[in-house]
């Protein structure tokens, strides 16, 4: 486990050195512009607009990073053959994968935390203060992080057996399908076809159900988010990541490095 931590720290260092966190500048500019504009265009609902815009931006930027960096975590190491010298050290392949996952998760966590701080600043600017009900925004940010962890685990899984392009398509496709998991589940009911209903139900349960992680509207309207949902989503994300990482390990442990 210690060796996975060493890999994770280096993965984080790589992201920092490759200036991945520069996206924060874009987010900061977006938040400043939004804070200045909403006061003029949305009388009475400034807070709702700024929270919705901010959380959506945090989610979108995070997803883009998780997909595009995630699919390169393993493939880039194999393509550049940096992995050869590393695996010649006493590092097991699962430790390498876990380290890569943890490193990108740490990068995304730091990135998301910085963006959340920016959002809090924008909210403070618009409202003049931060209130206890605004804690719902923190829960929404936490859910975004859980969602990103699942996306990273999927990207890592695909990158263990296919090309970066296909990994990107598969991960992005699964993400979009996961956002619409409830709609997919309802297809059978709408058509009234029992066979289609069974297939749609089965498929929707395999997909990561990202709909449950979307509480942006609730946070924007300062509605309290149930503690049970927090526990459920945490457990769901942990189990989904564990399954995806186990699959990735099983594939990668048998893979020949050419």
């Amino acid at each position: 486990m210690k060796r996975a931590g060493i890999v994770a720290w280096n993965t984080f260092r790589e992201a920092v050195r490759d200036r991945v966190l520069y996206n924060l500048v874009f987010f900061a500019l977006l938040m400043i512009a939004a804070a200045l504009l909403v006061g003029q265009i949305s009388i009475g609902i400034e807070q709702i607009v700024i929270v919705t815009l901010g959380l959506s931006a945090i989610s979108l930027i995070g997803i883009l990073m998780a997909v595009f960096i995630g699919v390169g975590l393993v493939s880039k190491e194999m393509e550049k053959r940096t992995l050869y010298a590393l695996l010649a050290k006493p590092v097991r392949r699962w430790e390498f994968l876990l380290g890569k996952f943890a490193g990108l998760a740490l990068t995304l966590a730091v990135n998301t935390a910085a963006m959340a701080t920016g959002l809090a600043g924008a909210m403070w600017l618009v409202q003049g203060s931060l209130r206890a009900e605004d804690a719902a925004v923190l829960v929404a940010v936490y859910f975004i992080l859980l969602k990103l962890a699942i996306v990273v685990s999927l990207a890592l899984l695909f990158s263990c057996f296919t090309t970066p392009l296909l990994s990107t398509l598969f991960t992005a496709g699964l993400y979009v399908a996961g956002v619409f998991a409830p709609e997919i589940r309802a297809i059978g009911k709408v058509t009234g076809n029992a066979a289609l209903d069974a297939v749609a139900m089965g498929f929707s349960y395999l997909l990561p159900n990202f709909d449950n992680f979307n509480v942006i509207a609730a946070a924007a309207h300062r509605r309290a988010i149930p503690g049970m949902l927090v526990a459920q989503n945490t457990l769901y994300a942990a189990v989904y990541c564990a399954i995806a990482l186990t699959g990735a390990t099983m594939i990668f442990s048998r893979r020949n490095l050419k």
Partner: protein, 330 residues
Amino acid sequence: MTAARRNANNTPMTGPAIETEGLTKDYTTGFWLAKKKRSLDNLTMQVERGEVFGFLGPNGAGKTTTIKLLMGLTFPSAGTARILGRPVSDVGMHNEIGYLPEQPYFYDYLTACELLDYFARFHGYGAAERRERVERMLKKVGLETAGKIQLRKYSKGMLQRVGVAQAILHDPQVVILDEPMSGLDPLGRREVRDIILELKRAGRTVLFSTHILGDAEMLCDRVGVIAGGKLRGVGAPKEIVGVQSHGMEILFEPGSGAGAAGILEKAVRMGERYRIEVAEGELYGAIEQLRAAGAKILSVVQVRQTLEDYFLELIGAEQARTSAVEVGEK
């Protein structure tokens, strides 16, 4: 393991350092992955503890495939391999092995110091020991002044030096180097040769692949020649090149005495000089003949088989161009 002694890392202290038995590697190719190409065919060999073993062969002969199998980077289609008595699948054994990949490439956002420190962490060294080892290794490979420069600014030769440094950073019992002289200038090659000799003096086992025969002849206790995925021969370079005499070579400047024309017909012209090869029993007769012809004899040397001759004899010019043996469809 029954009677063999073991050290603290559960590594047997006796037996060969590296042994393979029937090691075979097939790769699938083609769109449907229906075709198989055999990169390594039934390799059985042993590298003894403390010896420097040269793995010779043309490009695509199977040298790198063998090394990757030994390092657990690829998995054998058949056969077994053991290092220090332990199966190559045992990752814990990597504490005892150093490895330089062919044409190494490392994280280019790191400096050499950071890279070596990163690798040293996997061996469990504390901060002070890591710093000391990193400094010592950089000095050993001649990079002590470039340690703080990012690797993306390094030349190929400098990367090769970093590769050698990371391979021996943890003082391993067995060092496996894939084309260690590749990309190095004459000074760098000499430094790597010195490192290999130093490892040998320290009782370490070194297996290195090369197609530069001079290096193998100079460094190796034994060499193995591989071509077309098959081991063609194993032996000590001295046994190969030092015993069998192929005759005598006389270098001379021609004269104008009796029989001069007859001698020159048999000789090979090299500028102003001529070279003639004769059997050992005919040497004195040939010298008398040259003296009679008024020739000035410049040198007489024994013609011995070189490692290059041995190499070409074993694999043949045609086979040298063959990279792998096709074994048909599934």
